[in-house]
């Protein structure tokens, strides 16, 4: 197998994984939890993850609980595979320094926990809420950008994946396929500008889900209690 093919396969694999980890699903009630609460949860998870193995296992359990309780258990495996990328890298990179498998294993577990915490935070981030918050802060014109990013990125990623697939069939270098993806993106910028120019002004509106907010608050309280006690 040539280096070009391996590289193309790898890029396609991670593009598809990132797409599935963040963008693939429609809106769910579990995404209607205040970002402030999600941010607090992430902060506490990161604080606890600084501790030993059992601290990290508690954080991983809380992440699993968040995914399951907020109807997104199917996403865990994509996020976990994606989190394994920096995990593997840090494991291998730290080995020459630690000269110990358990030592590097601990570093890898911490990287995995932190990566998964961030992926969980990004998955449940609702761009419509961010837009609404921006409107409240008087940034009405810029409030379209968060939702627009969530709309456009999967479109571009899917095309990049198709260009890489075709490039692989044509046996051309990956950079050529990626260059075409850039050209396509450039065309899309003008086309989106044309396509949305006559739409009325964007006026975002967002509603929170009480049930999922309470569940998240309960998980946060449990983590805070653990952090305070242990």
């Amino acid at each position: 197998m040539s280096v070009v093919k391996r590289l193309t396969d790898l890029i396609r694999f991670f593009t598809s994984l990132l797409f599935k980890s963040i963008f693939i699903h429609g809106d769910i009630a579990g995404r209607h939890v205040p970002t402030a609460l999600n941010l607090a949860l992430l902060t506490v998870q990161l604080l606890i993850a600084r501790g030993g193995v059992h601290h990290m296992l508690v954080v991983l359990a809380s992440i699993t609980a968040v995914y399951v309780a907020r109807d997104s258990h199917k996403v865990i495996r994509y996020a976990a595979v994606l989190a394994l990328v920096p995990t593997g890298w840090y494991f291998l990179a730290s080995l020459p320094f630690t000269l110990s498998l358990p030592g590097s294993g601990l570093i890898a577990l911490r990287v995995f926990t932190v990566s998964l915490s961030f992926l969980c935070f990004f998955y449940f981030l609702n761009p419509v809420e961010i837009s609404t918050l921006m409107k409240w802060l008087g940034l009405r014109k810029a409030s379209l950008y968060p939702v627009f990013t969530w709309r456009v990125v999967p479109h571009i990623m899917q095309d990049a994946e198709t260009a890489l697939l075709v490039g692989e069939m044509k046996r051309v270098e990956s950079w050529r396929s990626l260059a075409i993806s850039v050209v396509t993106t450039d065309e899309y910028v003008s086309l989106y500008e044309e396509g949305t120019y006559t739409k009325p002004g964007y006026d975002p509106y967002f509603r929170y889900d009480l049930g999922h907010s309470l569940i998240t608050a309960a998980i946060l309280t449990a983590l805070l209690t653990f952090h305070a006690v242990v």
Partner: protein, 418 residues
């Protein structure tokens, strides 16, 4: 709306020449003409996209002015997915209309045939669904003039007819004014009061069906390739479903394509035609087992519906290589050999993809919607190029909802979602 002596220059090219027209409130008008004749330019000028977004020079009189029209008009792009700016169906409705409650969103979506799609991601909507969403937004946001570009390009017959019924409702029940650009004159005959014809930037009124000669030519002259080459490829898919889907999208798909043959895969929007081509391509590349490629798969390539994604060189000459220049002639592109691919039209890019596939010696080509968005004349040249290419021994599997593509098919495979 009254327009008098409208002239538009784009990149110093005189695109619209002394265009005059009048459209009454609540009227539906169809605008037809060959690709590149200036139809989209007219719509974009009337909605003030030209010169506000696309740089150009506009001269002439328009009442109300294009700036005012820009506020009351809504332009629905030829490729409708460029109309959508938010990630979810509900956020699109709430963000761009006066409807702010979830129950209101549900009711409005139900009225426009989108019931049950409230939380769906807009990325997965089909063209027809996006067009219905666009009509919903126009009706509920105070826009009075809808400028709809190449409306049925990406729709199958059933979805086209559903959209026509919806357009009729938008005019009759909501009193909106429609200016529709489309190639299918017969489809709109029951809704529009007039048909305008545009050719080389000038407008004529009262044309019956300007494409009747081209359509006659397509119907009479197109025929499947006659010579079958050596070697066949059997495609068999037991079952395929997306990782998180409940039901399989494709099951028991089984057909052969031989070299020199054209096989057309037809099915309504969302039936899995594109997915079928993509999984065959993907399984071919990684040697997977989800698809059984019996016989000798030979060399296989996939041409996506956006043909730009197929190309990998900056100019047609470089794409086909020195040895392949003859194939540019074959598909009628020799005069464009040094034109940057970004400057080629969609039809030209598709023909270039075909020339490239021939030059690279592929035995089988998987093509997705090769005629989408093309007028009957351009459609004819693309289909003729496919027949010519197959006569050189290339086997084609084409996913399309276009009945004209079936005319060059040796075999038609129908897939429908259960």
């Amino acid at each position: 709306m009254i327009v008098r002596g409208l002239n538009v220059w784009l990149d110093s090219q005189h695109v619209l020449r002394d265009v005059s027209l009048e459209i009454n409130d609540g009227e539906a008008v169809l605008l037809v003409g060959p690709s590149g004749s200036g139809k989209s330019t007219l719509l974009k000028t009337l909605s003030n996209i030209i010169p506000s977004v696309i740089k150009g020079v506009v001269k002439g009189r328009c009442d109300p002015s294009p700036r005012v029209l820009g506020d009351v008009a809504m332009y629905i792009h030829q490729e409708p997915w460029f109309f959508v700016s938010t990630p979810y169906v509900w956020s699109e409705v709430v963000g761009f209309t006066k409807i702010k409650s979830l129950s209101g969103v549900r009711e409005a979506l139900g009225e426009f045939g989108l019931g049950g799609h409230v939380t769906r991601t807009t990325y997965t909507l089909s063209s027809g669904e996006i067009q219905r969403l666009a009509f919903l937004i126009a009706v509920n946001s105070g826009k009075d003039l809808l400028l709809v570009d190449e409306v049925s390009s990406y729709l199958d017959r059933r979805n086209s007819e559903a959209l026509v019924r919806l357009a009729e409702k938008v005019v009759k029940e909501y009193g909106k004014t429609l200016l529709i650009v489309d190639h299918n004159v017969d489809l709109w005959s029951g809704v529009v009061s007039r048909t305008l014809y545009m050719s080389e930037g000038t407008l004529t009124e009262g044309v019956e069906n300007p494409f009747s000669d081209a359509l006659k030519h397509l119907s009479e002259d197109l025929s499947p390739p006659h010579q079958r080459g050596d070697g066949c490829l059997s495609i068999h898919i037991d079952s395929f479903k997306f990782p998180d889907a409940e039901e399989p999208l494709l099951s028991n798909v089984d057909f052969d394509v031989c070299r020199g043959e054209v096989v057309v895969v037809k099915g309504s929007s969302g039936s899995g035609k594109t997915t079928l081509l993509k999984i065959v391509a993907s399984e071919y590349v990684k040697g997977g087992k989800a698809v059984k490629l019996r016989g000798s798969p030979g060399r296989l390539v996939f041409v996506p519906d956006n043909p730009l994604l197929y190309l990998s060189s900056p100019t047609p000459a470089e794409e086909v290589g020195r040895e392949g220049l003859k194939y540019l002639e074959y598909v009628g592109l020799s005069s464009k050999a040094e034109t940057p691919i970004t400057k080629l039209s969609s039809g030209e890019r598709r023909r270039l993809a075909m020339a490239s596939a021939l030059a690279r010696g592929y035995e089988y080509v998987l093509m997705d919607e090769p005629t989408a968005g093309l007028d009957p004349l351009s459609k004819g040249s693309v289909l003729e190029a496919i027949v010519k290419a197959s006569s050189l021994g290339t086997g084609f599997v084409i996913a399309s909802h276009d009945p004209f593509v079936e005319m060059i098919a040796n075999k038609v495979v129908s897939i429908e979602r259960r």
